[in-house]
Amino acid sequence: MAGSYWPVRYANYLESPPLAVIVFRRRKTTVTMKKTFGHGGVHPPEYKELTENLALEPAPIPGRITVPLAQNLGKPAKALVQKGAEVRTGTPIGEADGYISAPVHSPVTGKVTGIGREYTASGALQDVVVIQPSEHQQQDFMPPLDPEACTVEQLTGRVLQAGIVGQGGAAFPTFVKLTPPKTKKIDSLLINACECEPYLTRDYRLILDRTQELLSGTRIIMKILGLHNSCIGIEDNKPEAIRKLREATGNDPGIEIVPLRTKYPQGGEKMLIKAILGREVPEGKLPMDIGSVVQNVGTAIAVHNAVVRGEPAISATLTVSGKGIRQPRNLIVPVGTSVQDVLDFCGGVVEGAVRILIGGPMMGAAQHSLKAPVVKATSGILVLTEGEIHTRAETPCLRCGRCVSVCPLHLTPTRLARLCRLGRFEEAEKLHITTCMECGTCAYDCPAHIPLVQWIRLGKQAVLRLQRARN
């Protein structure tokens, strides 16, 4: 297939009129086809040009900080402070409650003005610690460690203490991923640098602006897992980052840079493992069950910061983008800063902005209020205009089969959605509805504009209720 001409996938060139213009572009592949996962996937317009050339910059400390205690998958942290407590930047304010949980630290120096309940990014009311930042900021970090000299236990202890959670979106406590049970032999570490969500350029900027920290963090994780090799999987729409990583790793055979063909949702754990290792995570199992651990670029850098600098997870690196924001930026934001404060720092929204999202456009959550705080795993805040989202009325399913051919998990979304609409959840369960990871690929590609993911989400909850009732 070397050097042949292929039509760009219709999704790209039919974005703007005139419709019938067919653009041919030369594939970048040279000798071998670039790796990617096999079945399905789409290539939405990337919109990364809005922010990809803007270096990371720190956002100012806002007037009020609300730190949710539930910033991880699993159990929320237990509050350690009370109203009136003085905290410094890095002081623990919540402790891990159980195995799958993570501690929370104060992102600023100031005074705790209350512990209350507020709406967070998911739309749920959650416990938050409210902090009033003070004039003088003081650090209260953990002592730095020498990653070469200290033991694996010290390193994992530090990852736990620092409250690091996965930066890929699910916010799974990193400590848990790095301490698999003895029975599970880990043989491969994949660093996820795909950043397949449109708009987001946070991982890209981290690679360019924090290259050494990324490699250092990767080596620390390799040491923790007892591995001598790792791969950084990165999509080929980021040639600059690939070049920079290749230069920085030089002749280190321990870290391999693996360029992947750009395709959404390659940044999903299961998809990345399939793309690089060719292995499929069995249904209902975890990557560690087939010997692999996937960590996001941001997570690796957080590990480096926690170990080498003693800094706990108190800030989020995120992309503020979309055509509805006046000044798109890549920011390092203190956890607990409200969406409103971030948007104000970026010049505010333009008239005609209709949707504000936390996260990427394919899987992020629309916000009803600007009060939701930034959390450790926030990867982006997007302000979208009508021109970007193409809202249309739903029409009947025409059985075109596109959802089937693009589903990376080989589901039959149209059938699942119809069964859920009819309330036939047992049948949906037999068609593996709970396997769906809600990546949105099917609904993105549906010409009838059926809210497939919404129906499937509803169905998944009903199926989980059924399963609970059964047990």
Binding site: H390, H410, V453
Partner: protein, 323 residues
Amino acid sequence: MPKDIPETLQTRNRLELTTSPHLHNNWSTPRAMWMVGAALVPSTAAALIFFGWAQIGILLTSILCAAATEAVIQKLRKLPVTLADGSAVLTGWLLALTLPPDFSLVSTGIGAVVAIGIGKHVFGGLGYNIFNPALVGRAFLQAAFPVAMTTWKSPNLVDTVTTATPLGSLKFDAVASGLTPMFFGNIGGSLGETSALALLAGGIFLIVIGIVNWRIPAAMAIGILLFGSLAWRLNLQEYPSPFYHLLGGGFLLGALFMATDWVSSPISGRGMWIYGLGISLIVVLIRVFGGLPEGMMYAILMMNAAVPMIDRFTRPRIFGATV
């Protein structure tokens, strides 16, 4: 403003709350339908060139009757009238292309009413029909007016007045047509099937822009060549060669525009292969061993009926599943 109103209502920007994904590729049902219409333009032009401008009457009658039937039925069922999505127009258009030149306009209208009424709305309307509506209309006409439906006008560029289709002349008179006119279009047949070249141009356009899944035409082409060759081996003199099968009759019109109808074709890739091969097998059986010279319509309708079963047995293997 009272305090309990959410802040989003107090600003000029109203925020939409929807679930992810928030991007869409901007395809829609009407756009897909009109794209298919655009792809039919070359074949329609070929029909008018080879059979005369008068044939526009058949096209207009069919399209207008189909659209009117859709509107009336939707009014009666108290549904929103969705003529703008183009699906009824397309059904009428496709039906017209399957009719013989100089076909009676009254019969054409009846066919269009049957296509929309019985082919589509009896099953529940757009998206729910089991059979290709245009072919249901044609099947009705074939049964009601068998002689008129097989009276073929000669193309303009030939001296005679009536002629036989290449498949018909081979079957009943043992006279084979040349493959070159069959490719470019100077042959007898129904309006849309005369020029293979025009059909291919439209079909390839639809495959490139992603409306037609390439698997169905590919499976059908492989099938007709394979099964055609096997049948040909039985009697090299009398039976049509595989390329004669490929270019003759309604095969290309069916393979590119009829069998690929989204609603009445399978949704999984494997299903599409089975469906396409099945159609080709039935076509060859009808053409070679059956009483009719042409079997495209019946082959597609038969495989349409098999689609729910094909779908059930060709569900993709779930990622990470053990079976």
